[in-house]
Subunit: 157 residues, 2 copies
């Protein structure tokens, strides 16, 4: 189950999700562009990676394409890629170029081939944070992580 | 005069400083590595640029060297470099690698060859923000901007 919570004291969204896979496997699903494109986002979109350099100081951009052909692009830079523990990156929807989130993802080893994925998205205002929560991010997360579950289970067969 | 304030509602430090120069000149002093190294930081340190790619998606790293030879390094990535209006970048002291600030700098045209520089540094906790305020950042800002004043005045002669 994916948990999405709004922090009460700072403009952060916290996301938590457990996977039946090792931190190394879940980390790779966030850094390998072909693998990432297979699971990220809602079931109604496809992902086209435009640019991807998952190293500290690298950058990334991808385009989501809906079933009816609408495209929207997101981009950012990788501040810190620390295998297999943590990724820190920036995130902007290109149609709202002034908005920037600082996103940190932790890959926590629960033992027995299980990993807890924790993500926090930090922005500079509560209004901005609450706006992000209303964009339908929930369906994208639920669909995306379910796709990732299936990929990881096939990996482990 | 440099104004440094702690935001009451979000973990941000706001910094404001006016310059007798155009936005283009002040912007260039933040993106040209040789020029940047001449003014940034307190009078008691020198700056050695290690890496510098001031483009959206680029990254940077520099080392400050004190008069008695102590070195400390800082690094980050450039999320958005929008000449001459805005720079968004990440910032980490390498001796505290888990701490990351998202720093936005605006270059506001006041007319008559004057520019208001506004910077906000956003972190993920008030404790972290208040710790930053205690690191002696004030002397570095005051010294640095005074050096930048002199560089810009010489430019305009």
């Amino acid at each position: 189950m994916t948990t999405v919570t709004a922090d009460p004291t700072v403009p952060i969204i916290h996301i938590t999700r457990d996977f039946l896979a090792t931190p190394e496997q879940v980390f790779r699903a966030h850094t390998d562009p072909e693998l990432f494109a297979r699971w990220v986002g809602p079931d109604t979109t496809r992902t086209r990676i435009d640019h991807w350099d998952a190293r500290s100081g690298g950058s990334w951009r991808y385009v989501s394409v809906t079933d009816d052909g609408v495209e929207f692009a997101v981009r950012g830079c990788f501040h810190d890629v620390r295998r297999p523990d943590r990724i820190v990156q920036t995130f902007t929807f290109e149609r709202e170029p002034d908005g920037v989130a600082l996103q940190t993802t932790w890959f926590e080893d629960l033992g027995n081939g299980r990993t807890r994925l924790r993500t926090q998205s930090l922005v500079d205002s509560f209004e901005g944070r609450d706006g992000m929560l209303k964009t339908g991010m929930r369906i994208g997360l639920d669909n995306g992580y379910a796709k990732l579950d299936r990929i990881l289970i096939n990996d482990n067969r």
